[in-house]
Every structure is written in C-alpha cells, then in structure tokens.
Symmetry: C2
Subunit: 195 residues, 2 copies
DNA sequence: CCGCCGCCTTGACCTGGATCAACCCGAGGG
DNA sequence: CCCTCGGGTTGATCCAGGTCAAGGCGGCGG
C-alpha cells in the first residue's frame, strides 16, 4: 500500500476493504505539476480527477466574456476535477491550475466506474463525496444571499486558514465575487478600524 | 403499487426493483397542506422529507437577523426537506412552506436508512439525488458570481417556467438575492425597453 | 545596475441596488 | 358597502462596489 494515511482517512468515512483500496492505488498514477500548470484545461474531456497530495489549486470558471471567477481553491487532501461536468459527461468548463509546485494522485473516471461494478463501497464513497460537496456549495450559496463582501471575506479566512499566504489577493477577490480593488479597500478599511 | 408513474421515473434513473419500491411506498404517508402551512419549521429535527405530488413550496433560510432568503422553490415531482441539515444530522435551519394547497408523499429518514441496509439500489438513488442537487447548487453559485440581478431574473424564468403565476414577486426577489423594490424596477425597465 | 512584470494600492467618478416612505389596487370579510 | 390587508409600484436618497487610471514596490532576468 502506497498511501496508508489516505486509506485511513477514507476508511473512516465508509467501510472500505483494504484490497479494494489496493486495486484503486494500482489504477492511480502520480503527477507532478509546476506552478501555473493546468491539471485540466477548459474544453478537455472531464474524464479524470485527482487527490491533492501536495500544493494548492484553483478551479476557474471560464465564461464567454473571458471573465474569470473562481469556484474553489483546493489543497492537500482535497479532490480536484470538473465534478459537475463529469457527472453530466460534458467537456470541462473549468480550468484547474496549480498555484504552487504540486503533486497529485490521478484517477480515471472510467477506472472508478469499473471499481464500482466490483464492490459497493465505491458507490457509498461516491455518495459521500457528492453529499459533502453539496453541503459546501449550499454554504456558499447562503453566503452570497445573506452576507456582504466584507462578511464573506471574514468567513473565507475562518474556513480556509491553511490558504494564508498561498493564494493571491486577486484570486481571493475572484472567489468572493468582487474586484481586486474592492478587496484592497475592504482590507485597508479594516486595518484602520481595528489595527 | 400506489404511484406507478413515480416508480417509472425513479426506475429510469437507477435500476430499482419493483418490490423495493413497494416497500418504500408502504413506509410513506401522504400529507395534505394548506396554503401557508409549513412542512418543516426551523429548529425542528430534519428527520423527514417528502416528494411533492401537487403544489408549490418555498424553502426559506431563516437567518439570525430575521431576514428571509429563499433557497429554492419546489413543485410537482421534486423533493422537499432540509437536505444539508439532514446529512449533518442537525436540526433544520430552513422553513418549508406551501405556497398553494398541496399534497406530498412523506418519508422518514430512518425508514430510508433501513431500506438502504436491505438493498443497494437505495444507496445508488441517494447518490444520484446528491449529485443532482450538487449540480443545481453549483449552477446557482455561478449565477451569483457571474451575472447581474437582471440576468439572474431572465435565467430564473427560463429555468422555472412552471412557476409562472404561482410564486409572488416578493419571493422571486428573495430568491434572486435582491429586494422586492429592486425587482419591481428591473421589471418596469424591461417593460419600457422591449414591450 | 536597470527595466520589466506581477501584484497591490489609491483616487475620482459612476451605477445598481438598498432603504425609507408614500401610495395603489384588488380580494375578502365584517 | 366600506375597511383592511397583502402584494406591487414609485420616488428620493444613500452607499457598496465597479470602472478607469495612475502609481508603488519587491523580485528577477538581462
């Protein structure tokens, strides 16, 4: 077993037989990415996803006008991939870019599907993953509905302290749904008021 | 079988044995709700959910300040329930209110869990449900990030034509994340411009 | 050492939507 | 028949954040 820590984390979520995990490991491959390198480019088929072993990524939604908005940051232990597009078997609308030199463990969707046919544990795990990401999205929806940009900023750092110093202010702004200028002003206002 | 049409719809999604569906039907009970009546009140345990047989509901997030924002409208064939809270086994933060005289088919979460232990099809179905709702939330997230209130309004009616005439303008505004005055102005502006 | 680049800041101005307040209109109940 | 009430409109004013434009500054390659 190459990734015992990972196995433990998953096994805590759903009962996952060791030999099933070994099969999955055999199908996965490690990939190293440089800063700025894309794990997934928009337009590409969304037939692979990965677990971040080391580094930070941003998932950027590329809209028609070329405006970039950031769907999520993902760091160690989290999944990267164009999840929604994968579920709908569509090409990716999302660019997934390494913000640091990174290492990931890549799985092909089709391999996962094969594993699912062999043992129910994968179905269960997929369910958990879907439910977990649903909760994340719902939380963000609520933040957009009920909070100001400044409140969203505070929440962001509460919920993602591990991203301190690893993501640019520009990108935080794009995540919050405001411009970088607006974010800069919010921060300087807060500096004056509190210290 | 009391709900053959429903069975067909589900069976198209995942392979669902007829006798499993009969078991589920036996555990479910119909409930009739008057206009304004709550299917779920905030603070109540989120141990039941339901399928809308007839009518329209709104899911209202009750925030500390008493401000109401609307998470979703749900009509015939859709599920109502405090899904995120259910998954986290927390009391509901959501009020679910009938906007019309309605009929729903109620399931208890614990009954579903029992069914899941008996046959994998329920696990699969739960997965589909989670994935589907994830996609919905992600779409909404994107709308908040990339679209103006007016664009969100247009999308709203494109995506929910069946709600025409059944939801108040006030509630549409609360769904879009703006005030009823702002929505009224957007609409009158559009009326002048196009006709 | 210089110049450029990526990232952040600051200023001036504009605008979408919030807020507060008055008012309209149609339906239902006394 | 009038009163009230829920839902919608309209006006005046305010403010958060967008837009455009001009620097600042640290790091790195030439």
């Amino acid at each position: 077993m190459r990734f015992p820590k990972l196995f433990e984390r998953l096994a805590a979520q759903v009962s996952l037989p060791e030999d099933e995990w070994e099969k999955a490991e055999a199908l996965a491959s490690e990939q190293v990415l440089a800063r700025r390198e894309l794990f997934l480019q928009p337009g590409a088929p969304s037939d692979r996803f990965a677990l971040v072993l080391q580094g930070v990524f941003r998932a950027v939604r590329v809209s028609a006008g070329g405006a970039e908005s950031i769907k999520a940051f993902r760091a160690e232990g989290e999944l990267i991939g164009a999840y929604a597009e994968m579920l709908q078997r569509r090409p990716s609308m999302t660019a997934i870019e390494a913000l640091e030199p990174s290492r990931v463990l890549v799985f092909r969707t089709s391999d996962l599907e094969a594993l699912e046919r062999g043992h129910v544990c994968w179905e269960r795990l997929a369910r958990r993953v879907a439910e977990y990401h649903f909760i994340l999205k719902e939380r963000r929806e609520q933040e957009f509905l009920d909070l100001t940009a400044e409140e969203r900023l505070v929440r962001f750092w509460e919920e993602h302290p591990h991203l301190k110093g690893r993501v640019s202010q520009r990108d935080v702004a794009a995540y919050l749904g405001i411009t970088e200028e607006a974010l800069s002003r919010i921060m300087s206002r807060r500096r004056k008021q509190r210290g």
